[in-house]
Amino acid sequence: MNLPAPAPAPKHHVLSVLVENRSGVLARVAGLFARRGYNIYSLAVAPTDDERFSRITVVVDVETAPLEQIVKQLNKLINVIKISELDPRDSVERELMLATVKALPDTRHQVIELVELFDGRVLDVGHDEMTVSLDDHPGRLDDLEELLRPLGIIDLQRTGRVALPKLEHAG
């Protein structure tokens, strides 16, 4: 099993990259990271409300290269429209996690309690395992993952985060 990578420390930055919605664009972005020697920590991509554009949310490991260079190189791609760096303090971030956990009759209630505590959901129940989900701030996902681990994680999948800037509140 692939162990999930550790939680993003401050050396990670979140870039929201608006791109033209056409074939090959994701390969261009991913290829650029590989070629310039930058590491991608996570990446999520989907069309926006405007069908001409997609948004790639990419968490980058800035130990590998200064963020400024990454942004400038990305900007050189013809199909990249706009790049914003999302400061975690000024943005809302969400990520989805699915986990299949050991849940023998005597430990099943522990799993359910934990998941309820986090406002997660039980999606599937087997004889001695259970699949649960949580969509929340990535840090909360880390916490639940930590607490589930001693019970026995059989499979775990996270989507990588998506983010949008926080809105200005009227007072």
Partner: protein
């Protein structure tokens, strides 16, 4: 509206973009496009290897400033042109390459001669595109030329499946239309190069220049791309600041100008290297702080503030953090800097007024001329019966060629000697592979240059190793009556590698010997339709060159037997600081 097909639309689009020449070679997937070429005013030059087509397109672009165009088929032809694409990408050469692709339905099936051209070339092009519909061809071609020639120039590849250009296939049918400039711009929402410099930054740059005591202008290939040689000269003369011209910028500022310090870098001359190293202000114009120029980056020009002007924002701060970064076109920005200098100096804005506003730089000038006197480029002339000195051959080639002669070079020692010993007094007279260092560049690049500038004499200075990589294009030159001239400096070695093995691997020569006689360069060249001569002694050099210069109806090859022991100096050994420059042994070897 007229009904047409994708193939004819492609040729018409190339014509409307001003294409006069296409370098290429046909094959299955591109076949339908080669039919309408017969009826087009575009000249097609049939190459002998697709790498040749790519380098010819580059040579054409270097010499003319207009985009070079190459067209080849799918699969192996596309992979053969990857090297020129990468070369053009590294040296910012405007080029449009059209590749054939297997029919749309066959893509992804490992069809005959299918390869993922767009995938393979993604990282060596400024942009590439697989066209999927015939009606998109005119727009994609317009985009390709627009992207290749604006902002930081570069190669663009357009991959075209056979079915959409084959008139026998219904998928190729389309209504002709020609997109407007506005349509092209709005079809590229993510592409808006900045050309005009930020006014505040321009002013800051002018202030730094006026305050500097030991300034140097560090001119790069961007000067030539921006057609900024004239304003560069105005800036230098107005301020009296000396200029170094990098390997990509030779000719951007005249070597004969009293302010010209020549080439910096690993094999630059002592004065250019040391003036940068000791300067208090580097005015980097269209240059990119390449590792061959900076040496060890941490030790490069440690006391210098940096003004960095470049059209590519990613170059600013990539290697060295500038004190004043300016994104913009070199010609526009330098013009603005000149204006700001005149404004800030007060008075009437004349050169005298600008001089009066600057510190007294006479000590700096004396220091520089002291270095020039102590460390000129030198070589030991050959003794009787010895092999020729390559530097002597170059001096003779230079002095017997017209002032505006274009010279292209391969990669190796001969390239460095050409850059050092040729006197470049005009922009666009020097063509070489700087960033990628592609052996085999010179013959096809010279052919492309001659096609673009038939009025000019064009010499290729090549190494024996390089010549063997692309010599077959002399058949193209002979067939097409493109009278280029080639000087092979035959030292029977992969000389540059030999030099490193001599200096850094205790003279353990590993796989660098080539033999002076195999191949027989004279017979080989004659077999390819060239006039060819072998030159072995110093008194033959001049007459042979004069004879070659008189021939104007076919290619000429001169083979010079040169001394393999000769090394390129000065040299900054890789990884060392520019302050550790090694000069010619006759000047003391390790300098200072």
């Amino acid at each position: 509206m007229t009904t047409t097909d994708g193939g004819r639309a492609l040729i018409k689009a190339l014509e409307l973009e001003g294409t006069e020449v296409v370098f290429g070679l046909p094959g299955g997937a591109i076949l339908p496009v080669y039919d309408p070429i017969i009826d087009s005013p575009i000249r097609h030059i049939l190459v002998r290897h697709e790498q040749g087509a790519g380098h010819m397109a580059e040579g054409f672009a270097h010499a003319t400033g207009r985009p070079g165009v190459a067209m080849v088929t799918s699969g192996p032809a596309a992979t053969n042109i990857v090297t020129p694409l990468c070369d053009a990408y590294m040296d910012s050469v405007p080029m449009v390459v059209i590749t054939g692709q297997v029919p749309s339905q066959a893509i992804g099936t490992d069809a005959f001669q299918e390869c993922d051209t767009v995938g393979i070339t993604r990282s060596v092009t400024k942009h590439n595109e697989l066209v999927t519909r015939a009606e998109d061809i005119p727009l994609v071609i317009r985009q390709a030329f627009h992207i290749a020639t604006t902002g930081r120039p570069g190669p663009v590849l357009v991959d075209i499946p056979k079915d959409i250009v084959d008139p026998k296939n219904p998928a190729s049918a389309m209504e002709w239309y020609w997109p407007t400039d506005d349509e092209v711009a709005s079809s590229l929402p993510g592409y808006r190069p900045t050309t005009k410099g930020h006014a505040k930054k321009v002013r800051e740059a002018a202030q730094l220049i006026l305050a500097a005591e030991r300034p140097v202008i560090y001119a790069g290939g961007g000067i030539l791309k921006a057609r900024a040689a004239e304003v560069l000269r105005e800036l230098a003369e107005l301020t009296g600041i000396p200029v170094v011209t990098t390997l990509m910028a030779r000719g951007a500022f005249p070597d004969d100008h009293p302010l010209c310090l020549g080439m910096p870098g690993m094999h630059g001359n002592y004065t250019a290297v040391t003036a940068m190293q000791e300067s208090d202000l580097l005015i980097a114009l269209g240059s990119r702080f390449d590792d061959r120029v900076t040496g060890k980056v941490d030790a490069f020009a440690p006391g210098a503030k940096v003004i960095h002007v470049d059209i590519d924002p990613a170059e600013l701060g990539k290697v060295r953090r500038p004190d004043v970064p300016i994104v913009g076109d070199c010609r526009l920005v330098i013009t603005e800097i000149v204006r700001a200098l005149r404004d800030l100096s007060g008075g009437d804005g004349s050169a005298d007024a600008v001089a009066a506003a600057q510190p007294d730089r006479s000590t700096w000038k004396q220091t520089i001329s002291g270095w020039q006197e102590r460390f000129p480029l030198v070589y030991e002339p050959s003794g009787p019966g010895d092999l020729l000195k390559p530097q002597y051959v170059l001096e003779e080639l230079r002095s017997r060629a017209p002032e505006d002669c274009i010279v292209a070079s391969g990669v190796g020692q001969h390239q460095m000697w050409t850059s050092q010993y040729w006197r470049f007094n005009h922009p666009y007279t020097w063509i070489n592979s700087g960033g990628l260092g592609t052996m085999g560049f010179s013959v096809p690049a010279a052919i492309g240059a001659k096609v673009g500038r038939p009025d000019r004499m064009v010499w290729a200075v090549d190494g024996d190793g390089c010549f063997q990589m692309t010599a077959q294009e002399l058949v193209t030159a002979a067939t097409e009556r493109i009278p280029v001239k080639v000087a092979i400096l035959n030292n029977a070695y992969l000389g540059m590698v030999r030099q490193w093995q001599e200096m850094f691997y205790e003279e353990r020569y590993s796989e660098v010997y080539l033999s002076p006689d195999l191949p027989d360069y004279v017979k080989w060249s004659e077999a390819m339709g060239c006039v060819a001569m072998r030159v072995e002694s110093p008194e033959e050099v001049g007459p042979a060159i004069d004879k070659a210069n008189e021939i104007d109806d076919r290619p000429v090859v001169l083979e010079f037997r040169t001394d393999a022991a000769e090394k390129v100096f000065p040299m900054v050994p890789a990884g060392l600081s520019n302050s550790d420059i090694v000069v010619d042994p006759s000047q003391g070897g390790g300098a200072r």
